[in-house]
Symmetry: C2
């Protein structure tokens, strides 16, 4: 198994799907006559990140995971987004970055030492992916989804679990 399969296409499709969530949010705001941009500051608890920060965090998880697993230096993406258009641009920036990775970049990734700045020590690449990166990515993305659901946006599970690759088994 090459860890490319568990990262680049997965992060890419999930981040792309957020654009559809934002389309649904816009339709809901239009129908209810409120400014869709207010949703970016919506949160489920006062001491929890709002929607915009959840999406920025998901973007960062995707970016850092692919960089660390392949020994590359991740680009800096300051969390400056204030509008949905800017969030869409951030998503595209990260998806474009993910597209620069090749399968062979991930050769040996499972045993590569991966260390984010906040970590007291490195993790094995495989452990970084299984124990930290994937839980964290889905944590932030699902929380973003939950914030939109809680605010009445018309979303269902099929907006989260997307593009299943049938026909290869």
């Amino acid at each position: 198994m090459n860890l490319y399969d568990a990262t680049v296409p997965i992060f890419t499709k999930h981040l792309n799907s957020v654009n559809k969530w934002l389309d649904q949010a816009a339709a809901h705001a239009e129908a209810r006559k409120f400014d869709v941009e207010t949703l970016l500051q919506a949160r489920l608890a006062p001491d929890q990140y709002p929607l915009v920060r959840q999406l920025q965090a998901a973007c960062d998880q995707a970016k850092y995971t692919c960089a660390y697993l392949t020994g590359k230096t991740p680009p800096s993406h300051p969390d400056t987004e204030k509008t949905i258009a800017e969030v869409r641009a951030r998503l595209k920036t990260v998806v474009d970055y993910l597209a620069t990775f090749k399968r062979e970049d991930f050769n040996g990734a499972e045993e590569r030492a991966c260390k984010a700045s906040w970590m007291p020590a490195p993790l094995r690449g495989g452990d970084y992916l299984d124990h930290l990166a994937l839980p964290n990515f889905h944590f932030h993305l699902t929380t973003a989804y939950a914030i939109l659901r809680h605010n009445g946006v018309d979303l269902g599970k099929s907006h989260y679990v997307v593009e299943l690759p049938f026909g290869k088994a």
Copy 2:
């Protein structure tokens, strides 16, 4: 890479961590003088599963994934839980089931055809894990966490991303 590493220990630790969330929920209910059991029916949107069903779904994802990837027949766990004690018992039942799996059970799992009853066709094992099982597991578990957070339970990210295996890189 053996898919055991990405499944059995991951599902086990995350399901075990729910017991700590429920401890925190009990403490919150005690402090605020409400019946903690009411949280089992809390939800973030009227057309979304409540907490109890989110946790049942996370349990099922763990169970089915390990069974399908190893060609075993999963046990049936009817969704009959009505109390937090029963939810804790369900979590233990699944964690005990996960403990019956050995690493060698997952030999060849990546290429094994996996098909849940609702699926139109099987998925390759590796794709089943990356595209369906892990997103779905974390989707339900994070939503359960979000329901508790939204209801004021004292939880933070360190209750979700747990037990990082430092010292192996």
